[in-house]
Subunit: 445 residues, 2 copies
């Protein structure tokens, strides 16, 4: 385990923040380190150039008649700000209180590494693998996997797969192995509002021209009714209703009940769309969130300025059968209808991805449930996920295979936030589970 | 003039930003430089300690029977951000295209300096002054003159005055001397909204807890109706209606017509309270402005975070007979009524000051009009001001004297904004006007 942790810590030290252009070199260096690691354990690994960050593909010697398993992961990470809220530096991982702390420890370097080390152990013990394995690791998941889709299209011959395994989702609680069978989709946009050509004195000019910060706030506020319902016309048109068995199973699952949400988030109360439980709001209902907003003076004290511009960044989480392009059209039409007087509005469209849904009780699903149960010693639960991994739906469409979501993240792992961490017990459990999965899947052939 | 400009530039180089605690030493150094300058020209100057930045008082030898003139100004300045929008460094003044560029060049170091140099020239020419002069210069105007009010109360015996002159307001256009007789008041508050204890992944948690950025936006949006009217209950109750002569005079004044507002601000269109012209909106109607707002991710690209907190800074410009305490009570009640579900809201009250109004045709007002006309060679116009100098109403209440507002700022002087500048012609005109005012006022006795 010490050697495994050394590898993991080395991997975590790369500040592979894909959204920040100044970190492009770090993303590449991280991919190269991983390429080298995979070659070292006996796979044939190669970094492939794209128009963005490189894609890493690694395989064992594929043989006719074996099941084709593709394991997907990503080696890029989210930004770290607000960096002052981290208890330890985000790219100097430490093991403390049974968890590994650092940016990417859970999302997704830790979960990816559990599979890599599982395969390493399997090869060390058995000499070879019982399946045709393909690792597919990208460096752009956190910015929407933009260049992976064309890569899949042009390289699908070198990516044979009957089934895909992905560990980039959550376990509902400690000790409860979890099989994910659905994901929310996402689409993003940014609104920039400009008014005067420069910041103005709010006394000298206030009252005679529109304030861009007020305008952005009005546009944000227009997205919701006060009860939490989204007010964009037609937003819910294509939302597939929850199935009865899902509502029943989720009602008994720990981790996403009201009290769990309060405990994990520290929010003063739960709040969301009327008529749904917290788990239903998180896993099967769409959202409209402001991820960031800014305008005017943000420093200490006051500055009586009427700002020249203001902005807001939005993301919308989508559920089956909503389509990102359709929702973006509706949001754009909504903002155009709600553009305040006296300002100019620009809407920039960001990344998007479709929601995903598959049958958790297929033969592959059952095999995954058995591997989870053996690795963690408890019966697994079946859930959907609130987050988005758009590439899973893309892989389904391009490579023709479903994904088993074998999540190892716990609710307090702080992914995308300061003090991200990964439970050592899940790192160890994941290494075991990855090996058990090989045997369970191989047995299906 | 070269020597005058040298003095002025030295004065401008102090980054005397009163709102930023790290600049406290610079504010003091600036006050000490000014103390020394005033002693050099033959006045008796002394810096007085307060609980904040020091107050500077300087006098000539006062003699029985002479008119007591107090000239007020401030040596502190606004912050400089966004500093990247400045064409030249804010504290490295330059003379270019007939203007002096730098933070404080107009507000208020340039206008203050015109009086100091006017007095210097008068003493050099005449040996003594025709009035009992008191300079009162403070270092906290930009943060609400908090410690000047108690200073006035405890030192009013050393501040004799029949009339006060203040150059901290505007001329409506180049070459149109302007006497100000009214000011808007101000009151400020900051709203801080907190939700989850840390930033959350907007996929994993979005939909089940309230988003503080959305909540702040809803609170901002609640302040106005879409037509620009302020929606706070009772906000307009005490607003004194405009007098007919004001509406008529203002309709013919250059500088604050719709087209002037567009030219000066660069806004795409004028916008404000229905039923009023731009000059009326600016000078005689109240406002509610967001001076700054922030929440979540503001960097490059996207970050799908549900922010833990968000904030907005507000200022309200008030007109006779609105009272700051009353308006703050009403705003607080409004925000309490409009607090969104699922978040915690803190409201912090900031500085405030009453609106001001006086008769522009009093004997002092007429004397000021004559000095303006002689200095600038044109008939002066009479206006109110959109900005706030709360201390003017305080001086009226404590020292018992009205203020003549002899503004030298032009609409494109960019006060409180990047590229603040002061027209050299107004610097020169101000130096003349200050001397003419001494003679006009002395003649009243």
């Amino acid at each position: 385990m010490n050697k495994h942790l050394e590898d993991f810590f080395e991997f975590l030290r790369f500040p592979s923040v894909s959204t920040a252009s100044e970190h492009a070199g770090d993303v590449r260096a991280c991919g190269e380190w991983l390429e080298n690691k995979l070659n070292t354990i006996g796979l044939e690994a190669e970094l492939h150039e794209t128009l963005g960050h490189p894609v890493l593909v690694a395989k064992n010697q594929h043989k006719e008649g074996k099941l084709n398993l593709l394991i997907y992961g990503h080696y890029d990470v989210q930004p770290v700000d607000p960096v002052e809220l981290w208890d330890t530096p985000p790219f100097e991982p430490v093991l403390k209180d049974g968890r590994i702390w650092g940016r990417g420890s859970t999302d997704n370097k830790g979960q990816l590494m559990a599979h890599v080390l599982g395969i390493q152990e399997y090869i060390e013990k058995n000499g070879e693998l019982p399946v045709n394995l393909t690792f597919l690791f990208e460096g752009e998941e956190e910015i929407g996997s933009k260049h992976l889709v064309p890569f899949l299209e042009t390289h699908k011959d070198m990516l044979p797969c009957d089934i895909i395994a992905v560990s980039d989702t959550g376990m509902v609680s400690r000790g409860t192995p979890t099989l994910g069978y659905g994901l929310r989709g996402i689409c993003c946009c940014e609104v920039k509002v400009t008014g005067p050509s420069g910041d103005l004195h709010s006394g000298v000019f206030g009252g005679a021209v529109a304030n861009p910060a007020t305008a952005v706030a009005q546009m944000i506020a227009s997205l919701h009714k006060l009860d939490g319902t989204i007010a964009v016309e037609g937003f819910y048109d294509d939302v597939a209703p929850l199935e009865q068995w899902e509502r029943e199973m989720w009602a008994s699952i720990p981790g996403a009940a009201d009290q769990d949400v309060l405990d994990t988030t520290g929010s003063p109360e739960v709040f969301g769309e009327p008529g749904y439980s917290s788990s239903e709001r998180l896993w099967a209902r769409p959202t409209a969130e402001v991820n960031g907003m800014a305008g005017g003076y943000q420093g200490e004290g006051s500055k009586t300025v009427l700002p020249a511009e203001a902005m807001a960044k939005f993301s919308f989480r989508l559920v089956p059968d909503q389509k990102p392009e359709d929702i973006l059209e509706k949001v754009k039409a909504h903002f155009e209808k709600h553009t305040p007087v006296g300002v100019k509005v620009e809407i920039e469209i960001g990344h998007s991805g479709k929601p995903y849904y598959s049958d958790p009780n297929s033969e592959y699903g059952k095999a995954a449930q058995r591997a989870l149960e053996k690795a963690f010693g408890a019966e697994p639960v079946m859930i959907r996920e609130g987050g988005s991994i758009p590439i899973i739906q893309d892989m389904k469409e391009i490579l023709g295979a479903d994904s088993l979501m074998l999540g190892l993240a716990l609710p307090d792992c702080q992914i995308h936030a300061p003090n991200e961490n990964f439970y050592l017990e899940n790192f160890e459990g994941g290494i075991k589970m990855s090996q058990l999965l090989l045997d369970e899947l191989a047995a299906l052939k």
